[in-house]
């Protein structure tokens, strides 16, 4: 005997498009994250350079990565919700 899922699953016509957008955003973020790791590995002295307002690259890049993740999350949600509303109308 198998369980029923905790909720009924509804067909989602936007799934493929959302997944494509997700993959693109994932690669954009991965690229920027890799940049941080690569500087740390090969040019660690760059991390100490002052960039803006007396803050060094390590601080700006690090805080930037955190803020970017939040901003990209909102962008992703905005487009996904639009796609769902458009493609799942008939349901």
């Amino acid at each position: 005997m198998l369980h029923e899922p905790a909720n009924k699953i509804v067909t989602d016509n936007a799934a493929a498009k959302k997944s494509k957008l997700g993959v693109i955003l994932f690669f954009v973020y991965t690229l920027i994250y890799s940049g941080f790791v690569i500087i740390g590995l090969f040019k660690p002295e760059l991390m100490g350079l002052k960039l803006l307002g007396g803050q060094n690259i390590a601080i700006i890049y690090g805080l930037g990565l955190i803020i970017l993740a939040i901003v990209m999350g909102f962008i992703y949600n905005y487009f996904c919700t639009r796609m769902e509303d458009r493609l799942n109308k008939t349901n």
């Binding site: 994932f26 740390g40 660690p44």
Partner: protein, 640 residues
């Protein structure tokens, strides 16, 4: 270190624990079916679920571990914040919605939804259990660390209290009460971390952290050309000297009492600087700065040795803004206390010497993870850094206790929205860790024996009320995360293994009972592990749990979602290889050697973070085994 216990702290602590238990009683009456036990009936609002995600994820490692690591090693601790958050990007963009589409209660369900293969049920339930146990260790260690200053109880009692309360929460009401416990704790943690940060910024930077901060002895000394140390003060006698890693430690005797100092040379002058030290004599007795613990000779440390604002040296800055705070530390010098150990006759001596570190070095990676040639970074140092950043990035979306939270909301859209609420709350909190960590570093609050207590002890310096609230929240933090982990483990045993793999016939009530018994067993096991691993930095331990999760689970999830040729055997093989290789590397790593009491340099694998080897290994296994077993897939019709 010895701590005073305050009544207020105990009252606030009991209040929060009471609140949590009350909630569990309330929801226990509503939990009758297995769907409500494992997935809260799928009825949690997305915003509540989002904050509960934060409560689940921001474990003892984040609050206690990261703050402590930043307080002792500067920016390198912040690397964990960056990596932990980046992991959510993987969870949101790749894993959240598809997994919600595939699964029922657990991550094993989702993996298995396509194949219905026994091998996946078994391996996925084992990996869930192992990852959850790895993650449980640091939570329990952190809980023990917390009750020492809060309630004045020994470490093991703390572990026992947390274990018992959590078993109670989970066994009574399952996922619903766990969710609300995590929601409350997540919200409180973010609110009070913000409060603490405001206190830090208003307090500003000062050369003397507080009026009762220890004044360090500095004794004039002479060093002969052949490195013999002598002191002009005739009351002092140089008993012995020790050279450890090019540092010269000196034991001085005054009126029959002895103490350890470090030689510090500046231009033509030489000084002996006071240190903190413990000695363990042949009888196993531990002395703190030469006296038993109860005499309280051990003090809290960490201060700025020079403050520079706009090129001028000052004694204090007054209130500062967040960017000014970071900028000022970067141009100033901080005295950190660095640990060294050596033997003196039959005594084992551990010293923490004053290590004046420039702010510029603190504000970039390198103090813990050596990266530059100037610091003597080796290939293995760099690989460790890469490995850590990889495991943190890929680990989050492979943590079973996080994954199960996708099944507690009503729809995919709700799963996505709650993930975004989670990312925002968690991201904001991680930015605060930088301030809380640096604040602890410079405000004379550090207990050199336990890096995990930096945050709460900092709160204590701003008042016992704030300390009590922060500690109680930290304790609730542990409760929330441990409950989530135990739910995940009990799901792995009762739902994935007994019900799905062994296919034991059970009524729905029987399934809930099996889940509760599993929760009890895992809870007891976690208590034992928590006592055994006392004294390790909890963030480091969680880093290892991430590495195991990223190696065992993530390749399986991602390939299942994005590669059509993946087979059941490929998934099971990759889970097994991921578990074995990551744990194998951990067991033979330098850090574990130190824990065993062996010499770290003798460890056969000079790598502390296994991800860089074990993750690719799991991926290769999955691809090779899948390609070899393509026939299995050909006989199945996946289009239905």
């Amino acid at each position: 270190m010895i701590y005073e216990v305050s009544k207020l702290a105990v009252i606030i602590f009991l209040f929060i624990v009471g609140l949590v238990l009350g909630l569990s009683f309330y929801f226990a009456r509503k939990t009758k079916s297995s769907a409500s036990y494992y997935a809260a009936g799928g009825k949690i609002h997305w915003a509540v679920n989002g904050i509960a995600f934060a409560g689940d994820y921001l474990s003892a490692a984040s609050f206690l571990g990261i703050c402590g690591m930043i307080a002792f090693s500067g920016y390198d601790g912040f690397l964990y914040s960056i990596g932990y958050l980046a992991g959510w990007v993987v969870a949101l963009f790749l894993v959240a919605e598809p997994l919600r589409r595939l699964g029922k209660y657990t991550f094993a369900d989702a993996l298995d939804s396509k194949f219905n293969a026994k091998s996946i049920k078994l391996t996925a339930s084992i990996s869930t259990l192992i990852v959850s146990l790895f993650y449980l260790i640091p939570q329990m260690v952190g809980a023990g660390d917390l009750v020492v200053p809060l309630l004045g109880l020994p470490h093991w009692i703390g572990v026992l209290i947390v274990g018992s309360i959590v078993i109670f929460i989970v066994a009574t009401a399952g996922m619903t009460s766990t969710t609300y416990v995590q929601f409350i704790k997540g919200a409180l943690l973010v609110i009070f971390s913000t409060t603490l940060t405001i206190y830090i910024l208003r307090n500003g930077l000062k050369l003397t952290p507080s009026d009762d901060y220890h004044k360090f002895d500095k004794i004039e000394a002479f060093v002969s050309p052949d490195n013999i140390v002598s002191v002009p003060d005739s009351n002092l006698i140089v008993k012995t000297t020790q050279v450890v890693d090019k540092l010269l430690f000196v034991k001085l005797e005054k009126n029959g009492e002895s103490g350890w100092y470090m030689l510090n040379r500046k231009e033509n002058k030489a000084f002996l600087d006071e240190m903190l030290y413990t000695t363990v004599n042949s009888g196993g007795e531990i002395l703190y700065n030469g006296a038993p613990k109860s005499e309280r000779k051990f003090y809290q440390v960490g201060h700025l040795s020079r403050i520079v604002v706009d090129g001028k040296e000052v004694d204090e800055t007054g209130p500062v803004g967040p960017f000014e705070f970071i900028k000022t530390i970067e141009s100033s010098d901080v005295t950190r206390f660095t640990k060294k150990s050596f033997s003196d006759g039959e005594d084992k001596v551990t010293v923490w010497y004053q290590n004046v570190t420039s702010g510029a070095d603190i504000m970039k990676p390198g103090l813990l993870y050596k990266l530059s040639k100037a610091a003597g970074a080796t290939f293995w140092n760099k690989l460790n850094f890469l490995s850590l950043m990889l495991a943190l990035f890929l680990g989050t979306s492979a943590l079973p206790h996080i994954l199960i939270r996708y099944y507690t909301v009503p729809s995919q859209r709700a799963a996505r929205k709650s993930t975004i609420v989670a990312i925002s709350a968690i991201g904001f909190f991680y930015i605060l860790t930088l301030f809380m960590g640096l604040g602890s570093m410079i405000n004379g609050v550090l207990d050199v024996e336990s890096s995990n207590m930096a945050g709460p002890l900092l709160a204590k310096s701003f008042g016992i009320g704030l300390f009590s609230i922060i500690s109680a929240i930290a304790f609730a933090t542990v409760l929330g995360t441990v409950s989530g982990l135990i739910i995940a483990s009990s799901g792995a045993i009762a739902h994935d293994f007994i019900d799905n793999y062994l296919q034991v016939e059970m009524t729905d009530k029987g399934k809930v009972r099996a889940g509760k018994i599993a929760a009890l067993s895992v809870g007891i096991f976690a208590i034992i592990l928590g006592i055994l691993f006392k004294g390790m930095n909890v963030s480091f331990l969680v880093g290892l749990a991430f590495a195991v999760a990223a190696s065992a689970n993530l390749p399986a999830i991602l390939f299942l979602l994005f590669w059509k040729k993946t087979t059941a055997k490929g998934i099971s093989a990759s889970i097994i290889v991921g578990i074995l290789s990551s744990i194998g590397i951990i067991l033979f790593s330098p850090t574990m050697y130190e824990l065993y009491g062996l010499i770290p340099q003798n460890a056969p694998i000079p790598l502390d973070n296994p991800g860089i080897v074990s993750i690719p290994l799991a991926v290769i296994t999955l691809v090779v085994v899948s390609l070899m077993t393509q026939k299995d897939n050909a006989s199945k019709d996946f289009n239905k």
